[in-house]
Symmetry: C2
Subunit: 350 residues, 2 copies
């Protein structure tokens, strides 16, 4: 028995960071102290944790001297620099960025799917991409029931995945359009990808680009869904292709997913297995117009699944609509669940 963990949140003032604090307030993980870390610019700010004011401290290597679990969500370059420092000082790192996800000895974990992979950790555990996580939660029970040979996914992703500035930008653009501004006069500069050459309006638009373009004209976001799925499901044979699209929703990713199973099953079988699956809420009653909605997912930890239908021609093909809060299950909640799993499996040395 330990008397609780010292947990650090790196990037505490960001869009995901503030959700991490909320999730730590709700976790069953025994906590001794919570330390909030951010850049020098944000240091000195006071944030509430369980009703108590905590000062945000500047992130330095020594920040991790007394830390058991460090949850990172401050961008890839910060993780690259400071995660090894945290490990060196004895912390286990749960990293929300893409920095270490595809590194061989770094477990990439969705607790409902591959919690056991944590046992091989070498200090760093990666939290998968938001759009991958919710797909994994929905597909794992189906994989257990019938095997999955193939996945084709088209996403409808929310803007909060691109950070707080992107949210402000799309709100600003929305106001401008409602006030009658022309498309060419809208404020742009962040979306679709802050670091990329061109920027386009997202308000009342749909942008088929998330992250930069990469190999074979797929974007990095699309490659994440492909490669992370294979790693998390520990199955290199599973066929995955993705089209990732940003739409003007603040929070809540939606996904239109087509799967081909190895074994033919009925839609009733699929519904039954999803109804019992961890982390899944089945919302699938067309007669009552019940189906998952991004807006309804906000603030909830579950992944919502509905619109389950058999393909009209392929007998082992199925379509579904999968929705989750991208800041919670897609990021903060999955990270805290990983910390809970580390505790449950006794994988953090104190």
């Amino acid at each position: 028995m330990n008397d609780g963990y010292n947990v650090a949140v790196v990037g505490a003032t960001g869009a995901v960071g503030t959700k991490l604090i909320e999730m730590l307030e709700q976790t069953n993980l025994p906590l001794k102290n919570v330390k909030l870390l951010a850049s020098k610019r944000s240091a000195g700010r006071k944030l509430l944790f369980k009703g108590e004011g905590l000062f945000v401290e500047e992130l330095v290597p020594e920040s991790f001297d007394d830390i058991d679990i460090a949850i990172f969500s401050a961008g890839g370059s910060i993780s690259q620099k400071f995660a090894p420092e945290a490990v060196k000082r004895g912390a286990v790192v749960v990293d929300n960025t893409s920095q270490f996800r595809m590194v061989d000895d770094v477990p990439l974990v969705v607790p409902e799917v591959n919690k056991e992979a944590l046992k091989k950790h070498q200090g760093i555990i990666a939290n998968p991409n938001c759009s991958t996580i919710q797909m994994m939660v929905a597909l794992e029970p189906i994989k257990k029931l019938a095997g999955i040979g193939r996945v084709i996914v088209s996403t409808y992703q929310a803007v909060s995945g691109a950070g707080a500035k992107a949210i402000e930008e799309v709100k600003q653009q929305s106001r401008e359009i409602l006030d009658g501004k022309l498309p060419e006069d809208l404020t742009t500069g962040i979306l679709p990808v802050a670091s990329d050459k061109k920027h386009y309006p997202l308000a009342f638009n749909a942008l088929a680009q998330i992250d930069e373009f990469a190999d074979k004209d797929y974007t990095k976001e699309e490659w994440k869904m492909v490669n992370e799925t294979k790693k998390i499901m520990e199955d290199d044979q599973i066929k995955v292709s993705a089209t990732c699209v940003r739409i003007p929703v603040i929070t809540g990713h939606s996904e239109s997913i087509y799967i081909e199973t190895e074994k033919e099953v009925s839609v009733a079988d699929l519904r039954a297995c999803l109804e019992d699956a961890p982390g899944v809420v089945l919302e699938d009653d067309p007669s009552q117009q019940i189906y998952p909605q991004a807006m309804n997912s906000v603030g909830k930890k579950d992944t919502f699944v509905g619109r389950i239908r058999q393909d009209l021609d392929v007998t082992n093909g199925y379509h579904m609509w999968v929705v989750s809060d991208n800041l919670l299950k897609g990021a903060a909640w999955n990270s805290v669940q990983i910390a809970e799993s580390l505790h449950e499996l006794d994988l953090v040395k104190i």
Copy 2:
């Protein structure tokens, strides 16, 4: 040679009707007179046609006495009642509603694809569903090049497809959300389907329901894409499944389309054949972040195709992103093109 057609627009004051008037201003079809028809409520209003004020007249059976071509866009029940009246009085009807689309001797026409089907018309020609039309324009050249065995489509459809009141509703909801109203306090009543039991907010949301639910838990909109594709392409063997989703875009439908061709081709071959295809504008240069966008399609008659990629596992599988103005190519422009084709093929008796 004739000295021009007398053309009636039924539903002249609606979202599509006003676009029909614009398209008739731009058409090469020889016009003698244009008659604007609508419900009693709208009769007496004056609309501009080529700078001239035209009075909207009340729709009655006798409205068609001197009409050669009548373009209907006033809802299925109006078409059901008045299209046969127009035909009886010697007019050829181009119907924008779903009323006659699947009737055997009614040609369902996208001029770039199956103009020849007009030759068998018995007085009524149906304009396909907006989401089907743009898909057909993009797929026909590929079908000619390599054959198409299978289509899986997920749509990102604009709200103007649901009419002028739906546009106002989503604008109102957007303002309310930007002003801080909670989801449960938003104004609803029209979307997703005015005639259905429940109504949900669409602003900053995505609704996986367009039209009512029907057979096998697919919506009527999804069935339209399936059945109309088979009819237009004159191929009952083509496998089509659809997931239709409304997103907060005012005008411009986007579609994530996966196809399997009969013959394996390269992405370069696909781009080349689309570049030369009628009604298609290829916008596909990832290195310059060039891909179709709903916002850019507004007011244009073309169908924009981009994000063309080979599937990562299936060698005859391809993904693409297809965008078009749902009020123009998806409705008004396709209807006027049908009228132009009727003239070209000399299929209207004067």
